[in-house]
Assembly symmetry: C2
Amino acid sequence: MSKKSYVSMSVIRRLPRYYRFISELKVQGVERISSQELSKNMNITASQIRQDFNCFGEFGLQGYGYNVSSLLEEIHKILGIELQHKTILIGAGNLGKAIIAHMDFEESGFVLQDIFDNNPEVVHQSIQGHKVRSTDTLSEYCKKERPEVAILCVPSDVVLTLCSELVENGVRGFWNFSHMDISQNFPDTVVENVHLADTLMTLCFRLKPSLEENN
Amino acid sequence: MSKKSYVSMSVIRRLPRYYRFISELKVQGVERISSQELSKNMNITASQIRQDFNCFGEFGLQGYGYNVSSLLEEIHKILGIELQHKTILIGAGNLGKAIIAHMDFEESGFVLQDIFDNNPEVVHQSIQGHKVRSTDTLSEYCKKERPEVAILCVPSDVVLTLCSELVENGVRGFWNFSHMDISQNFPDTVVENVHLADTLMTLCFRLKPSLEENN
């Protein structure tokens, strides 16, 4: 499937964005699109787009552009969305609940199987059809159910202990909402950190009046 | 305050990460740190760290390293956190509520003033001490209260109309959780998009078994 065995993180990070834009085109009934048109919509140069798609093989035709459906199907395959990784979520507080309600996991390649919390008042509650389990039962659960991925909606101070337990029990991917970067501590796992405060601080910086004058 | 009038987006995007790491050091009681030690913790080269900090002026001493408190204070100033931008949040659904409960806005440079929703069942409810207002009153509110920033927790199909109304009424910054990129449509505003599904798809791609073998 892949033309090059090594694809840089910057290309990888653009793939979901392509997927999102091209999905939108399909919804709008667009059948084909050139790299120039994509470029205008996405604020990426046409040459960058051609180069990115080229990493995974040729799927455009000179003078015709890209067939929207085929392109979408290809990116779907490249992203591995059909793999539908077995996933658990830990920490059913406000953020955890919002993520459960807000995200379409299967659309992104994951099946949310179970939810865990350490608060006795939350354990046994039902969230979107999932009964919340106690984190006391986590190791036992993992040994039996073999989830591959954990979504971490827990405070920083518990995240390292929790991840050690999960990694020992076969979890190899983390979608991490805690404030702590865990990539360094678990180098053999795949970690995507979501640091919401980081993007908020970036917004703060970019709003500075002095920048408006200078840039 | 700033040494260079133009600072690249990649440096800017690293600043909140520095702030987060150095805040953590301060909490741990660390008084000074070298670029080498920071490098080990952050997975950024020491030379990159020195170069980044150099963009904003010199605040380290050869052979001594950086004073943690001063460094933190400097980055706080550089990020403009003291500006405390007047902010409103629109869309008090699951995601909106979680953001209100989860984020420490003032820590990131914002004051959440009011919350809006178009659902009559939600309007007048109280969330963390804020009474939810109707989006029908948005223009009138903006003319009077002059919020600078809006947090958008609304569906894609309403986001463009909503932003037009807000921009007309003086809002110039958006923290956008809707699925639609609005940067292209409002070039004179500052937009930080948070596309949660993008990071989830990136995780999916990075979990592909073929990548483990190749990389």
